[in-house]
């Protein structure tokens, strides 16, 4: 069965959406409010605020791309940082070594990461559960080994420092933008690119294709019985997730002024998993919330102590044993209870 046939055959499109309760008050364009609030940060906040916001926005995209696998398709990847890394290196090498403009290097980063996801995913989706996790880990370590050792191209353990910012001089022509630093301008560009990416991922999840992914997550045997080519769908999700992780990586490389082999080490995959779980893997806005809370907590905690990992581990323990639904899951539960109280 082709994808097109599967799409027309599967679940009446809107039915599943209708079944699901709304977790926030309706009628308020929350997404737009958050976007506008984030966009004003370069004017109302400090340079440091802009710096933190950049990190949050990029991490949010990375975590959302992972959640397309974890929350939507039910695949536990322990090597998602590989695609983030490929994107960062492709964009960094093109811009720094070959002087390619950002407008070409950025799409190339996503394509490169998606291509690598296609090759590695082809093998990964053949394996179940723990073996899948192990193989994704192996592929990410292969990327790490190449990044770490291929001095001529990746800069080896020295990495690729001083990746240029894209040329954003045109922003000077916009009223109110003239005084913004290049960092702030890049933040605004990042914010727009990430917002568009999130909208696309959201659309994908809500599309018939996304419904099939959810069906596969909930019951792969049944999905196969319905005639769905489970592996093909899983691979498609893997490639899309890899591509968006590549976009996040490309932005991160420019934001942090360099790409280094450390970015691709396996423990980074665990960090983005924590971000996703912290926010709530069952919700679209879970991972961005997780990213925001984690970045904010990180800067709060590191003011007091150098033992950030310890705090992160403790948070993870509380999460695993106390709040498996994450922050958004907890808030959702609270909201449902309040609503029931009001109705009673």
């Amino acid at each position: 069965m082709t994808i097109a046939e599967a799409i027309t055959n599967i679940l009446p499109q809107r039915a599943a959406t209708a079944l699901r309760h709304r977790s926030v008050p309706e009628g308020i364009p929350w997404t737009l409010i958050v976007f506008i609030a984030m966009a004003t940060i370069p004017w109302v906040g400090s340079r440091y605020d802009t710096f933190l916001a950049s990190q949050i926005v990029i991490d949010a995209l990375f975590a959302v791309s992972l959640n397309l696998l974890l929350g939507t398709t039910g695949l536990v990847s322990f090597g998602h940082v590989a695609y983030f890394g490929v994107g960062a290196y492709v964009c960094g090498i093109l811009m720094k070594t070959y002087g390619v403009p950002f407008s070409l290097a950025f799409p190339a980063a996503g394509l490169g990461a998606a291509l690598f996801a296609l090759i590695s995913g082809f093998f990964c989706v053949r394996l179940i559960k723990l073996y899948f996790a192990m193989l994704t880990l192996a592929f990410s370590q292969i990327v790490w080994a190449i990044a770490y050792k291929w001095n001529d191209v990746t800069g080896g353990d020295q990495g690729l420092p001083e990746i240029p910012y894209p040329n954003l001089d045109w922003m000077s022509a916009v009223p109110g933008f003239a005084d913004l630093s290049i960092g702030a301008r890049f933040y605004l560009l990042t914010l727009v690119l990430v917002a568009v990416s999130l909208a696309v991922v959201h659309r994908i999840i809500r599309s018939p294709f996304g419904r099939v992914l959810t069906t596969i997550r909930d019951n792969p045997e049944r999905a196969a019985f319905l005639g769905i080519n489970v592996r093909l769908y899983q691979l498609a999700a893997f490639v899309i997730a890899g591509g968006f992780a590549g976009f996040a990586g490309a932005l991160y490389g420019i934001f942090s002024r360099g790409v280094f082999a450390d970015y691709v080490f396996w423990s980074k995959s665990a960090e983005v998993l924590i971000m996703t779980i912290l926010g709530g893997a069952g919700y679209f806005w879970g991972p961005p919330v997780g990213a925001a809370v984690l970045v904010w907590l990180n800067q709060l905690v590191t003011d007091y102590t150098q033992y950030w990992s310890f705090v992160l581990g403790a948070i993870l323990l509380v999460l695993l044993f106390g709040f498996p639904g994450g922050i958004v899951g907890g808030l959702d539960l609270l909201w449902q209870r309040l609503k029931r109280l009001r109705n009673a």
Binding site: L137, A138, Q141, I146, K149, W150, L273, Y307, F310, L320
Partner: protein, 292 residues
Amino acid sequence: MSPSFLFSQFMGGLTTAMFLFLIASGLSLVFGVMRVINFAHGSFYMFGAYLAWQAVQWLHPTGGRFWLAALLAAIGVGLLGALTERIFFRSLYGREELYQLLFTYALVLILGDAAKFLWGTDQLSVSTPPALAGSVQVFGTTQPLYTLFIICIGPMIAFALWLALNRTGAGRMVRAAQMDREMLDALGANVATLYTAMFALSAFLAGLSGALVTPIQSIVPGMDVLIIVQAFIVVVIGGMGSLWGTFWGSVIYGQVLSFGILIFPGFSLFSVFALMAVILIVRPWGLFGRPL
């Protein structure tokens, strides 16, 4: 390339292999019985190293009493493993793999910082026990006695574990748990205690290998996350849950790393990860394991 050079590469690979076997055997045991991939195994290894250093400081600061220190360190880590299993892990057995993986990763984070807090971030080292401080000439190469000792202890531990698994009552229970833990539970066996004991034994082995590595490697923060990936590779190559698989997996890993450097300089790291990926693709249960 002279034969003696090749021989010394071979011996280097074998030393790496036997060290990794000590570490990976515990990882493999826990996987075989509990179907859990324990990221914290590397942290147990690191704690073994730090505790051994600490014990040497307490017992005999100028060196000596190394063996007693190593044993105490291994026992300490074994207790840590048992406590971890009793307090936390127990409630995660029925949960998804993701939660178990993330729990063991939480331990990595916490234990890693705990080690930094307790012992600082400076390199620490332990001197080689006097009895094994010398070296011998073999095939025109100089082999330190201590590495020969490591090469001997690997097969000894493997044989001891094999005996314990195949010739004792407790070993029979472990093998039964590997096959069908629900059935073992239903038959009235004390599976809970068995799991705690397995976890403790696994941590003990990790602690022991951490302690034994101290005379030839300095103790640094970060040794936990570096070693755990190597142990994963070994376990994957040989077959998760298979004792002899892990043994031969270590041997293969050591030799690929050792000779990979000669054939593709700079890409030996790549070659071992590629080997891991190829094995997972072709035979996910490893060279010597059984399909789940």
